[in-house]
Structures are given as structure tokens and as C-alpha cells.
Symmetry: C2
Subunit: 205 residues, 2 copies
């Protein structure tokens, strides 16, 4: 499926209520926190804990991950290179809608290809915060929370990232989290510090 613009005659139109209005109502800015890393690196765990920490501060955030996306919006996509690319493209576009709605979209997908993440970044411009959850393959494999590495090693999952398909680490992520060294709480705090320093959420007094 190509990402070429097919429909013409269309302009992005701001309604009566703008993004700035919504951000004023919420007391924080919209943004996209894009986690990337190997399966088992801790992306989803950190993403959910981040959502909870933000919620406790009254901040509107929402996690997009494999469970709610692969089940619904992207259920008609598989794991071919084209489908992986389209998967990430759609997630980037949905995250943009959430940011425009004044929320902090938190995405937790392996998103192994640099080009796909760069497309999501291009879609979202300065709203895009790439967080690389850096974790050695052997550590991820020893965690293996879903037993996927075991299946991949047994040849039951073709093109599994880290085993039989590449993972391309970000070259210039906004943040790197070493999930073998940091606790979940420490990881969340590092993201929150970044959001505060960028003025996306208010600093805690």
C-alpha cells in the first residue's frame, strides 16, 4: 500500500476550537513520546508506568501499543516489510491526531527501522520525542516475557527482530533509557524530566 496522497482538494482545517484551546484547557501541551527498542526491552512496561505517573499529575496521556493497535486499526496488516512500514505510518498519523487533540500520545512498538521512525518524526515535527529503550539482546532474551524469543530461536516466528530481522538503533533520539541499569520508576522520571524541560508539562513545584 503506497503512502502517496490520493485524495486531492483537501486542506487541513482548524475548526473553531484549536489545538491551543485544548492545550489551555488541559494545562499541558500535546506531544508524542515514541518508545523504540527490542521485544522485552521494557517499552510497554515503561509506557504504562509513564501513563500512570502523568495521570497522577492530571495530565491526559494515552498509550498506543500492539495490543490496542494490532487488534483494531492495523488488524489488516501482517509483518511483511510493506506492512511493517504501513503499521508504523498509521501509528504516526494516529499519534498526530492525539497530539492535536491536546493529549500526550505514548507509543510502544519495536519500530525497528530508522526510516519508518523518521517518517513518524516527519509527520509529527517538533512534537516527536523518540525514546530509545536500550537493552542488550541477551538481557531481552533472558526476560522473554511472552516466550517469543524461544519461539523465534526454534524457527517458529520468521523475521523476528534481533534474531532473524534487524533492529536499527536511533542515531539521535531525544532520550536513551538503559533498562538493564534503570528501574521502571527511574526510567519514567527521566522521561518526565524531559517533558518538563521542554515545557510540554508543567514542572512540579
Amino acid at each position: 500500500m503506497s503512502s502517496e496522497q490520493k485524495a486531492t482538494n483537501i486542506t487541513w482545517h482548524e475548526g473553531n476550537i484549536t489545538r491551543m484551546d485544548r492545550e489551555r484547557l488541559n494545562g499541558h501541551r500535546g506531544a508524542v513520546v515514541w518508545f523504540t527498542g527490542l521485544s522485552g526491552s521494557g517499552k510497554s512496561t515503561i509506557a504504562r508506568a509513564l501513563e500512570e505517573a502523568l495521570f497522577e499529575r492530571g495530565i491526559r496521556a494515552y498509550v498506543l501499543d500492539g495490543d490496542n493497535i494490532r487488534h483494531g486499526l492495523n488488524k489488516n496488516l501482517g509483518f511483511s516489510p510493506e506492512d511493517r512500514q504501513e503499521n508504523i505510518r498509521r501509528i504516526g498519523e494516529v499519534a498526530k491526531l492525539f497530539a492535536d487533540a491536546g493529549l500526550i500520545a505514548i507509543t510502544a512498538f519495536i519500530s525497528p527501522y530508522r526510516a519508518d521512525r523518521d517518517q513518524a518524526r516527519a509527520i509529527n515535527g517538533e512534537d516527536f520525542i523518540e525514546v530509545y529503550v536500550d537493552c542488550a539482546l541477551d538481557v531481552c532474551e533472558s526476560r522473554d516475557p511472552k516466550g517469543l524469543y524461544q519461539k523465534a530461536r526454534a524457527g517458529l516466528i520468521p523475521e523476528f527482530t534481533g534474531i532473524s530481522a534487524p533492529y536499527e538503533p536511533p542515531l539521535n533520539p531525544e532520550l536513551v533509557i538503559d533498562s538493564a541499569a534503570l528501574s521502571v520508576d527511574e526510567s519514567v522520571r527521566s522521561v518526565i524530566s524531559l517533558l518538563e524541560s521542554r515545557g510540554i508539562i508543567p514542572a512540579r513545584s
Copy 2:
């Protein structure tokens, strides 16, 4: 914060923060208000005015319409029957994510086919509120805000709903708005009354 893995591969998973938590924070429920009707019937105008009226009450709502969807998420879809169906399916799925995030998703698409709207309804269950903006073709054509009817009559737009492609009115919509008889404000009030009566938003004291 537990680092326990809650998700299996194939279940929609609630994180630590649930939809109910988000709805409590917002002071209203998530929902999907799905406008359907001919081009020129007033869907977008009513949708934007509804968003504004809800915003003034501190309610989080967000309009999905051709301008922000055809430009982004669905830019790789055209107007073939398959693409129209996929267009509506994706919108139904994104609306579901917004409702799960605790917002009122307002969609403004012609969505001419009953089967496609029924699929969006099936995706969204009891959150789905179908609003038929009922307006006679000749009235819509006389408004022709984007000059599309004129182009369609001249044969410049193939398969234009109402002219050369069918519109299938809802059989059991939650609400019908006669946009030739009601003002925009009256139309908005009728939707708000419905949202109040269903307990989606608090009634104004």
C-alpha cells in the same frame, strides 16, 4: 508500579490506568458521535459547532473529518468501493481509541453505506451514536459549499454520492437532524440533549 507483563499476544489490554480512570478525571464519558449525510448537509458545520459547545462546558471532544483524516491516516486511500470501506473502518477504529482515551470523538464523513456504518457501530458498541443529518438533495446541491455538485453534474467527479453513487440513509439512527429546518445551534442542542440523557455528559444544572 509493577513491571509484571499483563498482556498476552492477543488481548486488548487495559494498562494500569483504565478508561474509567480517564473518564473520572474528565468528568464525562467517552463516546463516538457519528454524523452521516450527503455532502452539503451540514455535517462538518454541526460537528465543529458541537465541539465548540462541548469545549465551553469543559468537555474533551475531537472532530475527525475529511480534512484531518484524508490528509494523514487515510491519504493512501482513494474512492473505490474497497477504499471507501477501509476509510470508514479505520475511522471507526480511531474513534474507538479516542473514546477509550476518554474523549468524545465526533466524526463527520458522508459514510454513505449502511454496511460500513454498521461495521463502525460494531467496533464501538454502545459508545456509538449515529446522527443522520437529513437534508434533501436539492437543498444540499443548492448550498454546494465546495462546488462539488456542480463538478459532479458536469461529470468531473465520478461516483459522487447523491448524483452518481448511492446514499443509504440510516434505518435506526440515535438521532435525526433536519438541517433544512433546524439552525446549527438547534442542531447542536439536540445532540447535547441526547448526550445528557444518556449520561455521557453531565446535565447542566
